[in-house]
Symmetry: C2
Subunit: 69 residues, 2 copies
Amino acid sequence: MQDWRKIVGKNVRRIRQERDITQEKLAFEAEIDLTYIGGIERGKRNPSLLVMARIAEALSVPLTRLLAE
Amino acid sequence: MQDWRKIVGKNVRRIRQERDITQEKLAFEAEIDLTYIGGIERGKRNPSLLVMARIAEALSVPLTRLLAE
DNA sequence: ATGTGACTTTTAGTCCGTA
DNA sequence: TTACGGACTAAAAGTCACA
């Protein structure tokens, strides 16, 4: 791969689905707009450190897990 | 801690110094402005995913190492 | 419940200087 | 060699309507 946006997107989506929660629920927990979460999951966004940290927190995983290749 | 900007900053600075290179050199390798590297190392900046990936690449470490707590 | 484009506001990131 | 400020430009953050 080597496209970090896609790697992060896949990780977020996979972990979210493991948790059995919707994008909407995750968006609410992370205090991020629903459509922005979708964009990240699709690899279309280049999120900042602090946004990724909020998502990891909402998913109850270490931040590094969002970056696992 | 829990301030990710500071965690990343400390990691970048430590690894850079282990490599014995200047901020200027790192900035050149990562194609990022010199002053921005400084800001990141001081924990004042909130870098994007792709910028952190370029820094990790320039330091020859996995991206996750920049986020190690 | 999610994908997508177009959009505005905020901030990331650059470039200049001084110390 | 690094810190830091100001002024700027590019891009991220965040919102909305509609499929």
